[in-house]
């Protein structure tokens, strides 16, 4: 899905990282992104939303994509500027079809302990799209949607 608005290339400062498949690798990059958003003046609601989607995307990539295989990696790319936050997360897994994930808010699924990550990413970000293979998710949160 194309983005509604994209900051100009000059305006972007992309951060690129390759993370090991290890849940302990998430917090440091999350802290770094949150500090960047604070510096840019994003309010608490925006920071909560981006942090949640960021964490869910990385956890999904490690747990469901890479199946916690330490030989696999997660590639992260993000750009935060005064207009929006844009995040790409890619894993080394087999990919999946996002449409195949059951709705976790359906009555019959409410008691299931798993399966809420994708729904939360969609709920808290303004744009969420997947590559054809399902190995990469792309998310955008606008400051003024």
């Amino acid at each position: 899905m194309p983005s509604r608005r994209r900051p100009s290339g000059d305006f972007q400062a992309w951060t690129e990282k390759t993370l090991p498949t290890h849940l302990g690798a998430i917090r440091p990059v999350e802290t770094e992104l949150m500090a960047r958003l604070r510096d840019l003046g994003y309010d608490e609601d925006h920071r909560f939303a981006v942090r949640l989607a960021f964490e869910e995307a990385l956890v999904n990539a490690m747990k469901h994509g890479n199946r916690m295989d330490p030989s696999r990696q997660v590639r992260l790319r993000y750009c935060a500027n005064p207009e929006c936050v844009e995040i790409h997360v890619a894993d080394d897994g087999a990919g999946f079809n996002p449409a195949s994930i059951p709705d976790p808010t359906a009555d019959e699924n409410l008691r299931k302990p798993c399966g809420r990550g994708i729904m939360l990413m969609r709920s808290y970000m303004d744009e969420v799209s997947y590559s054809c293979s399902g190995q990469e998710v792309h998310m955008i949160k606008y400051r003024n949607p």
């Binding site: 849940l23 302990g24 998430i26 917090r27 999350e30 608490e44 609601d45 909560f48 942090r51 949640l52 964490e55 869910e56 956890v59 976790p104 808010t105 409410l110 008691r111 299931k112 302990p113 798993c114 809420r116 990550g117 729904m119 939360l120 709920s123 808290y124």
Partner: protein
């Protein structure tokens, strides 16, 4: 994340402080499920001081809720800040959990 527990009104109150993220969820799992295994089936999670909560931790709360219910008890949520209230609403888990304005209300029989 930091966890403190105490007894109040016949319940075990588990007060969670800070960020309840994926890395921290095993600690919460151990605290809640350990309490249930030890016979404490009336649990109140004090969320007043929680600034972040991820889906993994929601899963821990659901697992604890099901285990406590299976033993005739409960897991109640107390005083979630607005972002957490919104999260419970978004996930519709406010239909599963009883959510109270404070711990005292949650710990009432």
């Amino acid at each position: 994340m930091r966890i403190q527990t105490r007894r109040e009104g016949g319940c075990r109150v588990v007060a969670i402080h800070g960020s309840a993220d994926t890395e921290a969820s095993p600690v919460l799992r151990e605290a809640l499920l350990g309490a249930i295994e030890a016979g404490e089936t009336r649990l109140v999670c004090d969320l007043r001081d929680v600034d972040f909560l991820c889906s993994d931790v929601l899963g821990v709360l659901i697992t604890a809720y099901l285990k406590a219910r299976g033993r005739g008890g409960f897991v109640r949520l107390a005083d979630p800040p607005e972002p957490l209230r919104e999260l419970l609403k978004t996930t519709r888990l406010d239909h599963l959990f009883d959510v109270y304005s404070d711990v005292t209300a949650a710990a009432r029989p």
